[in-house]
Each structure stands twice: as C-alpha cells, then as structure tokens.
C-alpha cells in the first residue's frame, strides 16, 4: 500500500469545521476511524480548536463556521462548554498562591522546636482552608462570567440558525433535483459495474429495474484478484439479514479489469438500499469475506 500523505493541522481544522469538499470529508472519515495515529491527532487538534473558541481567540470565517457547523451538535456544544469551564478552572489555579512554595515560611520552619509541630500543622491547615474558600469564591465568579459568554454565543448561534434556513431551502432544491433524476428514463441494467465500498457516502450506485425484467446482471469489481471461486450474498442492510445467496461464481476479466459476474433475481428486490457481500471460496475452509458493494434499487 502506498504511504499516505501527511495531513496538516489546518486541514484537520477545516475538516472539523465542515469546510472541505465532500469527497475529501469521506476520505478523512475513513482515515479517522482506521488510522490510529490520525484518530489521536484529530482529537488533539479538536481540543485545541475548542479551547481557542473558549478563549475567544477564534475570528473571522473560522469563528463563523465554528458557531454554525461545529456547534450544531449537542455533543460538540457540550465539549465547548467543558472547555470554557476547564479554562476558568485552570486560570484560577494558575493565579492562586501556592502555600507549599512560600519561601518566607521556610527559614522560620528551620528554627521551630519539635513541640511546635502540631501548631505549625494547624496553621498550614487554616491557610489551606482559606485558600480553598478564596478559590471557590473566585471560581464561582469566573463561572458566572463564562455563563454570560455562553449566552452570547447562544445568541450568535440563533443568527446562524437563520442562515441555516437559507441552506435548508437549497437542500430542498437538491432533493427535488434527486427526485427528478430518479424519474428520468431508465438506465440500462445490463452488467452494471459495482465498486467495493470503502468510502463515498454519496457514491452509492442507483440501479433502475425495468418492469418485466427477471434478472439483474451485475459485475462486482475485485480490488485484489487471486481467487478462483466466489459466492455472493444479498443482504438487507436494515435487518442485516441475508436474503439470497448465489451459487459458486468464477471471476472474469472485462477490459483487463477483474470482475465477478452475478445475476440477481429481481423478484426479491424492493425499492431500497442493498448490500452484496462477496466471499472467496477455498476448498476445506470457511468462505472468506472479501468486500461489500452497496447499491440502491429504484423500481420503474
């Protein structure tokens, strides 16, 4: 497998803010689930991004995208709220006095007699309690300040919601376009080529089944040829139930590309998504799962 190119923090931030093209989003979706190193880096970058928002240092388009896209999810809003609280707590702890490092008390401690120790311990305890009270008071004040900031952010999010309504209208137009496309004249159903599903949420093949057709011929493209015999299971992804299984199939080369041809009985197909699971058959061992192929059936 060729080495994957490095991804910059800036690119990951654009991914988190929904500012990348769809195909790049899907590529990164896959990598952030599969690639351990990238998954960890993404979390670090995300925390830094959320901290920047909490600190008020995000500006311009990034701030706008953060509020319109990132904060659209309750889970991510909760992360942002946590970052604000953490920031307040850390600010507080870095500004409070540190009793154990108080140099002024150290020379005196050297001349204390052993019998004075309980008294000294009590003094340190009182000092610590005092610090805790002070810390509690400061923290509450900062939290109220944080709450005010969050309410301001909420106001900005309301403005963003209005922008969403505009986008909603665009979505409705896109849906209509999809309906129009589906009602367009039927595609040829002869030996449609399906690709293995590794990414591409938007790239599911749509297969139009004309009335009267008894079989739907498909060619399943092989990513790595090598097997001599395969079989195919037609699965309903909603129930994950296998509803049909092919006999043993031999791979073929179509224009030098290795494919497994399969013919599905159209009587089983309803207008919905399906998955075809391809298995390699080897004598004396269980079938090996090779890949899944997604497609959507449209009845005419």
């Amino acid at each position: 497998m060729p080495p994957t190119p490095p991804i910059s923090d800036d690119h990951l931030i654009r991914y988190l803010l929904g500012a990348l093209p769809a195909d790049e989003v899907e590529r990164l979706d896959e990598r952030t689930v599969v690639d351990d190193e990238l998954a960890e880096r993404l979390r670090v970058v995300e925390d830094d991004l959320v901290d920047s928002y909490a600190a008020g240092t995000l500006t311009g388009e990034r701030l706008q995208r953060f509020e319109t896209f990132y904060l659209a999810s309750p889970r991510r809003r909760s992360k942002a709220a946590f970052a604000k609280g953490l920031r307040a707590a850390i600010d507080r702890s870095t500004h409070q006095p540190r009793p154990v490092q108080n140099r002024a008390t150290q020379p005196a401690r050297q001349i204390w007699h052993a019998s004075w120790w309980p008294l000294a311990a009590a003094a340190v305890l009182i000092l610590a309690i005092g610090v805790l009270f002070l810390q509690n008071f400061t923290l509450r004040r900062e939290l109220r300040e944080t709450a005010r900031h969050m309410a301001d952010a909420s106001q900005r999010a309301t403005t963003a919601a209005q922008q969403l309504e505009v986008e909603q209208a665009a979505t409705a137009a896109a849906k209509q376009a999809l309906v129009d496309a589906r009602s367009a004249p039927a595609l040829a159903v002869v030996a449609l080529v399906l690709l293995p599903q590794t990414r591409g949420v938007t790239s599911v093949s749509i297969v139009a089944v004309p009335p009267g057709a008894s079989a739907l011929p498909l060619n399943l493209r092989l990513e790595s040829p090598g097997g001599t015999s395969y079989d195919v299971a037609l699965r309903d992804p909603a129930s994950n139930r296998t509803i049909w299984r092919s006999r043993s199939l031999a791979p073929e080369r179509v224009r030098q590309i290795p494919m497994v041809p399969v013919s599905l009985p159209t009587g089983l197909l309803k207008a919905q998504h399906y998955a075809l699971d391809l298995f390699e058959l080897r004598p004396g061992s269980a079938p090996d799962f090779v890949s899944s192929y997604a497609f959507e059936v449209v009845r005419q």
């Binding site: 979706d29 998954a39 709220a81 946590f82 953490l86 309410a151």
Partner: protein, 201 residues
Amino acid sequence: MSVVTLDRRDSGTSGTSFTRLLRWLDDGVDSKGERYLEIRRRLVAYFDRRNRPAPDILADETLDRVSRTLEESGRIKVTPPARYCYVVARFVLLEDIRRNQREVPFDETRPASQHNPSANRAETDDGAERSLQCLTHCLNKLKPEDRTLIVEYYRDAKRQRIDRRRELARGLGISMNALAIRTWRLRASLEACVAACRNRR
C-alpha cells in the same frame, strides 16, 4: 491497571458473540476491551461529525452488525478490523439518513441553539453552576502530578503555550506528540467524570 467496563445493555449480541468481537478487534493483542472502546469512540465521533441525532446508538448498531457477520461467517478477511467497522458504519449512516428523510421533518433536526435565548440563559447559569462544582470535584480526584500536568498544558495562549508544552515534554522526556496524547487522555477522563457527576446531581 485500569478496569474497563463494557456496557452492552442495548445490544442484541450474546456474550459469546461479544467475546468473539472483542478478540477480533484486538487483532492478536489482548487490549482488555480497550480496543473496543476506542473503535466505539471513533464511530461515535464519525456519526456525530455527520450530525446524526443519536451517534451512540448508531455506533452500537454498527458493532452489533459486525458481531453478527463475524458470528455467521466465522471470520472477516478485511484488515485492519477498523476498516471493516468503517464499511459497516457507512451503511448504518446511509440508512439513518434515509430513515430520517422519511420520518423526521427537517425542522426537527435543527440544533437546539435555536431555542429561546433567554430560556437558554437561565438554563446555562444553572448548568454552569453544576459544571463548576463537578469540575472542582473531578480535578481533585486526579493524581497531583496529573492535575499539575493538565493545568500546565492548557494554561497560557499561543506562543507562550507552545513554549510551555515544549518545556513540559522535555521535562518528562517524551515527544510533543506523546505529551499531547497523554494530556488528551487526562482531559477525556476529566470530561467523562464531569458528565457522570452532572448526571448524578
């Protein structure tokens, strides 16, 4: 060593299937369930980035399907296991999008931030107060060295912050990247502690 609790209340997966799933995800290295939790976290984040309303449920559905396939087929050839989980997750995502298009009016999927801002303000004050108490409680539960690390790592801004992190990494004898991952884990445990604490109150 930390004890990992695996909660499968809503799963249709039997104990044996679940054990098989854990073993398969571990891919030869016994992680004591950590790998399962890690893959689940990634799937939840994936569905959440796709703005699905119930990312946790979709992540569990994905792992249940993987488990059933494993049970039926005996083995899955795709490696690493996370890649197959992603393939299944994509199907789950597609179906969820399709189901929502059919059943949920678009207006209902809008973020909650569109609610009445003044009501939000009252809720926020109350919630922030609870979060404060929980954060203090959870910070106090950290080991002193961890508490110091998280405070030092996240204080300051911009240039100062970068310099401070470099010093911290040098002091601990680890790379900046390793330091970032270590503090992320601390932060994640703190976040989980705060969430659990808020639910209790």
